[in-house]
């Protein structure tokens, strides 16, 4: 039997945008469940998947990368209810973590990626790109915590978030959190939230594309950034297609 955990509240930084009611429906037991994986020195772990359905979902992945190991994770989050993916990564010397995430959807659901990237040893790098497209009163979040240990010199860590809101009621949030104890560290962080480019829409209409076709093309271009590092063409196509199918649901 798992021990009974207490449910977090939105006062807790990592849960500040969470749908805690949905979390209660999932049940506290889920908080104890982690998928754990160790990536041996010099090896590469690649994973790409689609999360989210009609019921709330919490998925947690813990990765430990040995020296020179590499982990690549690409995820499309299409939850119609609260869908949260947490990833905790500990990087050995010279290891690399690549994360590409998409959240997309309307309704009133919250979809979020919560990553904790621990640069424990020198010369490791991490690169995280999240794109969120929402409408209705839908929400997409990216909470990315980066911890750099004192000995982890020459760390390179980048996070890039862009939100695209198709309607006024939707929202997108990026919460970067840095905890850096080494001094030779390169951290890059960018976050913007905007709407579809009005002049591009007009230009595309002037060439004969309907508003729906225009939106699909622009959203596809927008999401592409999250998947550029995904080398497997078929997988990239599958993750993108799942997102665009979600877009079709929008009326």
């Amino acid at each position: 039997m798992p021990e009974t955990a207490t449910l977090p509240t939105r006062r807790d930084e990592a849960w500040r945008y969470a749908d805690v009611d949905a979390l209660a429906r999932i049940g506290a037991e889920a908080l104890d469940q982690w998928t754990e994986m160790a990536v041996p020195a010099g090896e590469t772990h690649r994973e790409s998947f689609i999360v989210g359905g009609d019921a709330p979902e919490l998925r947690r992945i813990r990765l430990v990368l040995s020296a020179g190991a590499r982990a690549e994770l690409f995820v499309t989050n299409i939850g119609a209810d609260y869908t949260r993916l947490e990833v905790e990564v500990t990087l050995g010397k010279g290891a690399h973590f690549e994360f590409g995430g998409i959240t997309i959807g309307g309704g009133d659901a919250v979809r979020e990626f919560v990553t904790t990237t621990i640069h424990a040893e020198p010369e490791a790098t991490s690169n995280q790109t999240v794109r969120s497209v929402h409408w209705g009163t839908g929400t997409g979040n990216f909470l990315g915590e980066i911890k750099v240990a004192r000995r982890a010199q020459k760390t390179g860590a980048a996070q890039d978030f862009k939100g695209l809101l198709l309607e006024a009621g939707a929202s997108a949030n990026a919460v970067p959190q840095l905890e850096i104890f080494a001094d030779d560290v390169k951290c890059a962080h960018g976050a913007t939230v905007g709407q579809l480019d009005e002049s591009a829409r007009y230009y595309m209409a002037a060439r004969g594309l309907s508003p729906e076709e225009t939106r699909r093309l622009l959203v596809q271009a927008f999401l592409g950034d999250a998947l550029v590092e995904l080398g497997d063409d078929a997988e990239r196509e599958r993750l993108l297609e799942a997102a665009l199918e979600k877009l079709e649901e929008r009326k």
Binding site: G208, L209, A221
Partner: protein
């Protein structure tokens, strides 16, 4: 083919077009010249249906129908092409993808079969060749990183591929070097010179008109057409300027 009658239009709350009347029959190239701020681009955007451009009075008949009954993308499907004074960049979308989808959605609007990937590429190659544009450019993102002149040339490649019935070309010559100007001018002739097509050619310079010889030339000033004549009117403007020519009228 295009029949503009007493057109009044606001941009935001400001009246810009103030009773503009102009008729371009099929088979004609009609040049529009006029001082900066006269309303030439506004006319182009009103015809294109740009959001924020409000028609307050008048009518535009296009190919026998009311242009304003159509949404912007339907106007394109009906055969209207707008060459932009400032072509727009679309990051993440390649010219090939953009133009293929645009062409096929126009064809769908007209009840025609879509072109396959192969058929489209063949067409794109031919039109790029006509404008002496490298196919590699068409694989790049729409207008992203293109120089001013390259954007204008790309507009004409787009026009060649989409093969419209009527083109409104807003300062397509601006930003082009001398050789490019000739190539673009000849491109316009080869794509649009036809008994069933028409062109509204907005320009400041005679140089383009030396290549694309207009049938009629009009001066647009303060939101109206104030004078119309033959090709000699453009030559007079080049020599004497707007004030002198308009004072004479």
């Amino acid at each position: 083919m295009l029949n503009i009658e007493n057109l009044h239009a606001n941009v935001g709350d400001t009246p810009i077009l103030k009773g503009l009347t102009l008729e371009v029959p099929a088979g004609e190239v009609h040049a529009i010249m006029g001082p900066n701020g006269a309303g030439k681009s506004t006319l182009a955007h009103v015809l294109g249906g740009k959001p924020g451009y409000e028609v307050t009075q008048g009518s535009v008949e296009f190919r026998g129908g009311d242009l304003f009954d159509l949404d912007p993308h339907e106007r394109a499907g009906a055969g209207l092409f707008l060459g932009f004074q400032y072509p727009v960049e679309i990051p993440g979308v390649s010219n090939v993808q953009f133009l293929r989808e645009a062409l096929n959605s126009q064809r769908k609007y007209r009840g025609e079969e879509p072109l396959s990937g192969g058929e489209f590429l063949k067409l794109a190659k031919e039109k790029a060749g006509l404008l002496k544009m490298d196919m590699e450019m068409l694989k790049r993102q729409v207008n992203v990183g293109f120089s001013g002149g390259e954007k204008k040339r790309a507009e004409m490649v787009q026009m060649g591929i989409l093969d419209p019935k009527f083109a409104v070309l807003d300062e397509t010559d601006s930003g082009l070097d001398i050789d490019a100007l000739r190539i673009v001018g000849e491109g316009i002739n080869s794509i649009m010179r036809s008994p069933d097509k028409g062109v509204l050619l907005i320009t400041h310079y005679q140089r383009l008109l030396d290549v694309v010889k207009p049938d009629r030339v009009s001066i647009l000033a303060d939101g109206r057409i104030v004078q119309t004549g033959g090709p000699e009117l453009a030559l007079r403007l080049e020599g004497e300027g707007y004030d002198a020519v308009m004072a004479d009228a």
